[in-house]
C-alpha cells in the first residue's frame, strides 16, 4: 500500500464524508461555506500531492483495497498519466470550490446541490485512479450519477428534466460500450485488472472492436459528434460552477479513459485507428463550433465550444496514434503532448468562461445574449477576465490556447513522413478543418463577448446589474492568470508532461526549459519555434511605446458625444446587431450543409402596413439522422407490443399452448 496512493485515496473518502455531512446539514445557513470550504481544502491537498508526483516523477505506485469485485479487489494506481489528470481534476476542483464559496450563496436550492457536488469530485478522482475495469466503471458511472443529480437540481424546470433524462441515458449507453470493451479486454476468464489487460494483447479484430467501443463510450461522455446531443442540454442546465466542472473537467476525464485504454491497455495500435480518430476529431471540431456560433444562449454556446475543443484534442490524439502505429515516437510524443496541453488549457479557459457566464447569470438573471449587452460598464472585472478567456479560447497569441494549437499544427506538419496513403490524404484535410474551426472559434467568441458585454444594454435587468462577490472574482482572476502563464511559459508545461508521454508513446519532446529565452522548439530551431514570452513582451513594449509617443506628441483633446446612427438622432438599443444577426453571414456560408438552414423573407407589398418578416429554419442534422430513428423505432415497437397487455385469458392460454407445441415439435425433430 503506497503512501502517496493512500493519501490520494483519502481524498475521495473525505469528499464522500463531506457529501454525507452536506446531506445532513444542507439546510443550514453555513452549509454552503462549510461544504465548499471542505472541498477546496481537500482538492488543494490532492492537487499538491499529484503535482508533486508529476514533478518528482518517482514512477508508478499502486494499492489494492478489499472492495469491489471480490476476486479482483479495488485496485488503484498512480502513474504519470493519472497524476497529470489528477492535477487537471483537482485544479479545477479547487478553483471551482473557491468560486462556489461565493456563487453558492445565490443558490435557491442548496440541499439539492451541496450533497452531490463533493460526490461528483470524488467520482472524477476515483476514475483517474482506478486500476481495474470494475472500479473504473463504478467510479465512471458514479461520476455520471452525481452530475445527473446536479443537472436535476432545478428540477421544476421541464427543460432541465429533459436534459437530465437524455444525459443519463446517453451516459449509461456509454457505460455499456465501455463495459463491452472491457469484456473484450478481459477475455472469457474475466481478468479485470488493468495490469493483466496490459500484458494480454488482443487480436487485430478485437483491438479494432475495442477502439470503436471506446470511441462510443468515452466519446459519448466527451461529446464527440454525433454522440454529443446530450452535452449542450446537460452542461448549461446545471448550476454554473457545476457546468464549469462538467464542461472543463469531466470531459477531460472521458479523454483520460480513452487514452488509458487505447494508448496504454490496447498495446500497439493499427494505422487506420489513427484515421478514424482524426476524422471524427476534425468533424467534431468544425460542427461543434458552427453550432456554438448559431447559439444565443451564453451557456449553451460555451457547451458547444467544448465540443469543438474536444474535437481538436481527439484529432491530435489521432495523430499521435498514427505516428505511434508507424514507429515515429518523437512525432507521436509531439502530437500527444499537444493533446494533453490542450486538455489542460481547455480546462482553464472553459472553467473561466463558465464562471463568467455564472457571474452574468447572478448579476442579471439572464442567459439569453439577446437580452444582455453593455455589461462591460456594469461588471468591469468580470468582463475583463471573460475577455481574457475569450482571447485564450480563440487561440490568439500570447495566450495558452494558441500555444497548444500551435503544437498541434507542428504535429500535423510532421505527417508527410507517414507511409500510408490514407493518412497522407486525411491529415492535411483535417489540418484544414482545424484551421477552419480555429478561425470560427475566434468569430464565435467575438460574438460571445461583443453581444454580451459590449454595445448597449438590451434589457432592464442589465441596468440593475452589479459586480459579483469577491470569491467568484478571485477564482476567475486566478484562472485568467493561468491562461496567460501557460501561454507565455509553455515550455514548463511541456517538460512536466514528459513524465506522461514517455511510458505511453515511448518518447518525450526535447527539453524546452533549457532553450534560450524560454522559447519552445518542438523539433529544431531552424524548423519552427515560438516564444510566447517575447511575443508578449514585444506587444507590450510596442503598444506602450506607441501610447507614449501619442501621449507625448499628439493632442489630448477628447469629447464625448452620441454615436453616429446614420442620421438617426437616438438609435434604440434594439437597433444593435443581435447574436442571431451577427451569425447571419456565417450561417449563409456554412448553414446550408451544416444545418440544412433556410431563410425565407416575406416582404409585404409596398404601402402595406404589416412588418416584413425574416424566417430562419435550422435542423440539428445529427439529431435527425441518429436519434429520431431510434426513438421512432422504440415507439413503434412499444406501440405494437403493448397490445399484449390487453389480450384475453384465452389468448394468453393460446400463447402458452403454442409455445409448448413449438418446443415439443423442436424436440420431436431433434436429431
Amino acid at each position: 500500500m503506497n503512501s502517496t496512493v493512500a493519501l490520494l485515496l483519502c481524498g475521495p473518502a473525505a469528499f464522500l464524508a463531506t457529501t454525507i455531512m452536506a446531506a445532513g446539514a444542507s439546510r443550514l445557513a453555513a452549509a454552503t461555506r462549510l461544504v465548499y470550504g471542505a472541498t477546496l481544502v481537500i482538492s488543494a491537498v490532492l492537487l499538491a500531492t499529484a503535482a508533486g508526483h508529476l514533478a518528482g516523477n518517482p514512477g508508478e505506485a499502486s494499492a489494492t483495497l478489499p472492495l469491489g469485485l471480490p476476486w479482483t479487489g479495488a485496485r488503484f494506481r498512480l502513474d504519470g498519466l493519472s497524476a497529470f489528470f489528477l492535477v487537471v481534476v483537482n485544479l479545477g476542483g479547487t478553483i471551482t470550490s473557491l468560486y462556489g464559496l461565493g456563487y453558492g450563496r445565490h443558490e435557491s436550492l442548496p440541499h439539492r446541490v451541496l450533497p452531490f457536488y463533493p460526490a461528483f469530485l470524488a467520482g472524477m478522482n476515483l476514475v483517474v485512479l482506478a486500476n481495474d475495469a470494475f472500479s473504473f466503471l463504478l467510479s465512471w458511472e458514479f461520476m455520471s450519477l452525481a452530475s445527473w443529480a446536479l443537472v436535476m437540481a432545478h428540477h421544476r424546470d421541464e427543460a432541465n428534466r429533459r436534459a437530465g433524462y437524455i444525459y443519463l441515458v446517453m451516459a449509461s449507453f456509454g457505460t455499456m460500450a465501455l463495459l463491452l470493451a472491457f469484456g473484450l479486454l478481459a477475455g472469457p476468464a474475466g481478468t479485470y485488472a488493468f495490469d493483466a489487460m496490459r500484458t494480454a494483447h488482443p487480436g487485430p479484430f478485437a483491438a479494432g472492436a475495442v477502439l470503436v467501443l471506446m470511441l462510443l463510450g468515452a466519446g459519448s461522455k466527451a461529446g464527440l459528434v454525433p454522440l454529443h446531443a446530450w452535452l449542450p442540454l446537460a452542461h448549461p442546465a446545471a448550476p454554473s460552477h457545476v457546468s464549469a466542472l462538467m464542461s472543463g473537467i469531466m470531459t477531460k476525464v472521458a479523454i483520460y479513459g480513452f487514452v488509458r485504454v487505447v494508448f496504454d491497455l490496447l498495446g500497439e495500435p493499427a494505422w487506420w485507428s489513427g484515421v478514424a480518430v482524426l476524422l471524427i476529431g476534425g468533424v467534431t471540431a468544425v460542427l461543434g463550433i458552427l453550432h456554438a456560433l448559431m447559439e444565443k444562449d451564453l451557456k449553451r454556446l460555451l457547451a458547444y465550444s467544448t465540443i469543438e475543443n474536444i474535437g481538436v484534442i481527439f484529432a491530435s490524439l489521432g495523430l499521435a496514434l498514427a505516428f505511434k502505429a508507424n514507429g515515429m515516437p518523437s512525432a507521436a510524443a509531439l502530437a500527444f503532448t499537444a493533446a494533453l496541453f490542450h486538455v489542460l488549457n481547455h480546462s482553464f479557459f472553459k472553467s473561466l468562461l463558465f464562471f463568467g457566464a455564472g457571474a452574468v447569470l447572478t448579476a442579471t438573471g439572464e442567459r439569453d445574449m439577446e437580452k444582455l449587452g453593455g455589461l462591460i460598464h456594469r461588471l468591469p472585472v468580470t468582463s475583463f477576465v471573460f475577455l481574457i478567456g475569450c482571447v485564450s479560447i480563440s487561440a490568439l497569441p500570447p495566450f495558452n490556447g494558441f500555444a497548444s494549437e500551435w503544437l498541434v499544427f507542428q504535429a500535423i506538419l510532421r505527417s508527410p513522413e507517414l507511409p500510408q496513403w490514407g493518412l497522407k490524404v486525411i491529415v492535411p484535410a483535417v489540418g484544414g478543418m482545424l484551421a477552419l474551426s480555429a478561425a470560427l472559434a475566434a468569430a464565435c467568441f467575438v460574438k460571445a463577448f461583443g453581444i454580451t458585454f459590449l454595445g448597449r444594454a438590451r434589457s432592464a435587468a442589465v441596468e440593475r446589474a452589479h459586480e459579483v462577490d469577491r470569491w467568484s472574482l478571485a477564482a476567475m482572476a486566478v484562472l485568467a492568470a493561468f491562461c496567460l502563464l501557460a501561454g507565455i511559459l509553455p515550455g514548463f508545461v511541456i517538460d512536466s508532461l514528459s513524465t506522461v508521454t514517455l511510458p505511453l508513446v515511448g518518447e518525450r519532446m526535447p527539453v524546452q526549459m533549457a532553450q534560450p529565452w524560454l522559447s519552445i522548439v518542438p523539433i529544431a530551431e531552424s524548423r519552427s519555434s515560438y516564444n510566447g514570452l517575447l511575443v508578449f513582451v514585444f506587444i507590450t513594449i510596442s503598444a506602450s511605446l506607441a501610447a507614449f509617443f501619442i501621449h507625448r506628441f499628439a493632442s489630448h483633446a477628447l469629447r464625448r458625444d452620441i454615436a453616429w446612427g446614420c442620421g438617426f438622432p437616438d438609435a434604440v438599443p434594439a437597433g444593435q446587431y443581435t447574436a442571431v444577426s451577427f451569425a447571419q453571414p456565417i450561417r449563409r456560408v456554412f448553414g446550408g450543409f451544416a444545418f440544412r438552414s433556410r431563410e425565407t423573407v416575406d416582404m409585404p407589398a409596398p404601402g402595406a402596413l404589416e412588418p416584413a418578416r425574416l424566417k430562419v429554419e435550422m435542423h440539428d442534422v445529427a439529431w435527425e439522422i441518429f436519434y429520431q430513428p431510434i426513438t421512432g423505432a422504440i415507439d413503434f415497437a412499444t406501440e405494437r407490443l403493448n397490445h399484449l397487455q390487453f389480450l384475453t385469458i384465452r389468448r394468453y392460454l393460446t400463447l402458452v399452448f403454442l409455445y409448448l407445441v413449438i418446443l415439443l415439435l423442436v424436440l420431436a425433430l431433434w436429431p
Binding site: 463504478l138 458511472e141 441515458v169 449507453f173 473484450l184 407490443l641 385469458i649 402458452v656 418446443l663
Partner: protein
C-alpha cells in the same frame, strides 16, 4: 447437535404453519399484525440458525444444501421485512376502509401459509413434494391478490389462477416424466422422486425422456417465474393485490419457481446426452428481457411498471444461469438476491406512495422528492439500483453477465445490452416524472415504515461495493455446483 439442527428445519416449516393456525383464530387485527411479524422473525432466526448448526442428512422429504440455504435465508429475511412493512401498510388500509378486520385475519393467516409453502418448496428433497408446495404457495397468493374484492382485483386473481393452474399441470406432467426416467434406474417407489438420489444417478437416466420432462418443467415453473410469453398473470397480479403481496411475489415467489427450474437444470446437466438446458433458458431469458423492456414504456400504473421490470430481471437471471460458467452463475445468484431486496424495497416505497397520493397512476404522481423526500429518494435509489447503476449491487452482477457474455459469445451480448438500455430508458423516464417536477397529488404526511426499505437499500448498496469473503466463497461454491 444434529437433532437440534433438524429442529431448525422443522422450525422453518412449523412456525409459519402454527402461526397461520393461530392467526386464523385471532380476533384483534393489531395483534394479528404483531403476531405475523413475530412469527416471521422466528422463522428468520430459525433459518439463520442453519448456518451455525450442522445440516441434517438429506432425508426422503427434506434436504438442506448449499444451494437452497441461499434461498431459504433470503426468503425468510424478505418475508420478515415485508411483514414489518405490511403491518404499517395494512393499518392504513384499514383506516381507509379498503380492508375489514375479517379480511385482515384471513390475510395474515394466508401470509403465513404462503411462507410455509415457499419454505417447504425450498427444503423439500422430493420433486413431488416440491410441486405440491409450489402449488400451495401459488393458491394462497391467488387468494391474497383477490383480497380487495374489487372488479379488477378479481380479474387479476382469476387470470393468475387459470394460467397458474395450467402451469401447475404442465409442471406435474414434467415431474411424472422425471419419475418415469428415474424409475428404471432407481427402481419404483419414493426414492425415484428423491432429489439427492436422482442427482447421483442422473447420468444413467434416459436422456430423451429427461429432455421432454425439462420442457414441461420449464414451461410449468417458468409460468411462475413469469418468463415471456408465459408472463401474462404477473403484471396484473402485482398491480391489483395489496402491495406487501406484490413485494412478496416479486421478491420471493418468482425465486421459488426459479429455484425449481434450477434444480431440474442441474438434473439435466448431469445427463450429457440430453438437450442442453442452456440455449432454452438463454432464449427465454432474452425474450423476457427485451419484451419487458419494451412493455415498460407504455405503463401508466406504477405497480404494473415495476411488475414488468421484475419480468425483465427474471429474464436477466435466467439468461445468466443459461449461460452457465462460474462468472455467469455467480452473477445470476448475486442478481437474484439483489433483485429480491431491491424490488421488494421499491414496492415498499410504492405502497406508501400510492397510499399518500391515493392513486397508482403514474401521471398523477409528481415531485415526490419534494413533497415526500423520504419516500421520493428511496424510490430514486431503488430505481437507480434496479436500473443497474453503481454503486449498487445489481451493477456488479450486470457487469459480470455482460462482460463475460461478450467475451464468450459476442453476438449474444448485443441484444442483452440493447434490452438493458431500452429498459433503463423507460424506467428513468418514469422516475423523472414521478420523483421530480412540480409536486402533484396528496401531500399529507405519511406514517411510513422506512426501516424495511432503507435496510434493504443499505444492504444492496453495501453489496455493490463490498462483498464479504465468506459470502463470495459460498456463492462461488454454489456457482460451481450449478456448473
Amino acid at each position: 447437535m444434529s437433532g437440534f439442527s433438524f429442529d431448525a428445519v422443522a422450525a422453518i416449516l412449523f412456525v409459519p404453519a402454527g402461526a397461520a393456525a393461530i392467526l386464523a383464530a385471532m380476533p384483534n387485527y393489531r395483534m394479528t399484525a404483531t403476531v405475523n411479524v413475530i412469527a416471521s422473525l422466528l422463522t428468520l432466526l430459525a433459518a439463520l440458525s442453519l448456518f451455525v448448526t450442522d445440516r441434517p442428512a438429506p432425508g426422503q422429504y427434506l434436504l438442506v444444501d448449499d444451494l437452497n440455504i441461499v434461498f431459504i435465508v433470503l426468503n425468510t429475511f424478505v418475508g420478515f421485512t415485508t411483514s414489518v412493512f405490511s403491518a404499517s401498510y395494512i393499518a392504513h388500509e384499514l383506516e381507509t376502509g379498503r380492508l375489514t378486520a375479517p379480511n385482515l385475519r384471513f390475510y395474515h393467516a394466508m401470509y403465513q401459509i404462503m411462507m410455509f409453502g415457499m419454505n417447504l418448496a425450498f427444503v423439500s428433497n422430493n420433486i413431488g413434494l416440491m410441486w405440491v408446495a409450489v402449488e400451495l404457495a401459488t393458491l394462497t397468493t391467488v387468494l391474497m391478490v383477490g383480497i380487495y374484492r374489487t372488479h379488477e382485483a378479481l380479474e387479476a386473481a382469476w387470470k393468475y389462477f387459470i394460467l397458474g393452474s395450467v402451469g401447475i399441470a404442465l409442471a406435474l406432467f414434467g415431474t411424472i416424466l422425471v419419475y418415469m426416467a428415474a424409475q428404471p434406474v432407481v427402481g419404483e417407489g419414493t426414492n425415484a422422486m428423491v432429489w439427492s438420489v436422482l442427482i447421483e444417478k442422473a447420468a444413467r437416466f434416459d436422456p430423451a425422456l429427461l429432455s421432454v420432462a425439462f420442457i414441461f418443467l420449464l414451461l410449468g415453473y417458468g409460468t411462475k417465474v413469469g418468463l415471456a410469453p408465459l408472463h401474462a398473470w404477473l403484471p396484473d397480479a402485482h398491480a391489483e393485490g395489496p402491495t406487501p403481496i406484490s413485494a412478496v411475489l416479486s421478491g420471493l415467489l418468482l425465486n421459488v419457481a426459479l429455484y425449481a427450474v434450477l434444480r431440474f437444470k442441474l438434473l439435466l446437466a448431469a445427463s450429457p446426452q440430453a438437450i442442453g438446458p442452456g440455449p432454452l433458458m438463454v432464449t427465454m431469458g432474452l425474450t423476457s428481457l427485451i419484451f419487458a423492456a419494451f412493455m415498460l414504456y407504455r405503463r401508466r400504473d406504477i405497480k404494473r411498471l415495476f411488475a414488468y421490470s421484475s419480468i425483465e430481471h427474471m429474464g436477466i437471471i435466467v439468461f445468466a444461469f443459461g449461460m452457465g460458467g462460474p462468472l455467469a452463475n455467480f452473477a445470476g445468484l448475486l442478481h437474484m438476491v439483489m433483485h429480491s431486496l431491491t424490488k421488494s424495497a421499491i414496492f415498499f416505497a410504492v405502497g406508501h406512495i400510492a397510499q399518500v397520493k391515493g392513486t397508482q397512476k403514474i401521471s398523477e404522481i409528481r415531485g415526490l422528492t419534494e413533497s415526500h423526500p423520504g419516500l421520493g429518494w428511496a424510490l430514486v435509489i431503488g430505481v437507480v439500483a434496479i436500473a443497474g447503476l453503481p454503486p449498487l449491487g445489481i451493477f456488479m452482477s450486470e457487469f459480470l453477465v455482460v462482460s463475460s457474455t461478450f467475451a464468450r459469445h459476442s453476438w449474444l451480448a448485443i441484444p442483452l445490452v440493447l434490452g438493458l438500455l431500452i429498459a433503463f430508458g423507460a424506467l428513468l423516464l418514469r422516475l423523472t416524472g414521478v420523483a421530480f417536477g412540480e409536486p402533484r397529488g396528496g401531500t399529507a404526511p405519511v406514517e411510513a415504515s422506512y426501516v424495511p426499505m432503507y435496510s434493504h437499500l443499505a444492504l444492496v448498496f453495501a453489496a455493490g461495493i463490498y462483498l464479504p469473503a465468506p459470502l463470495v466463497a459460498w456463492f462461488q461454491h454454489v456457482a460451481g455446483i450449478l456448473g
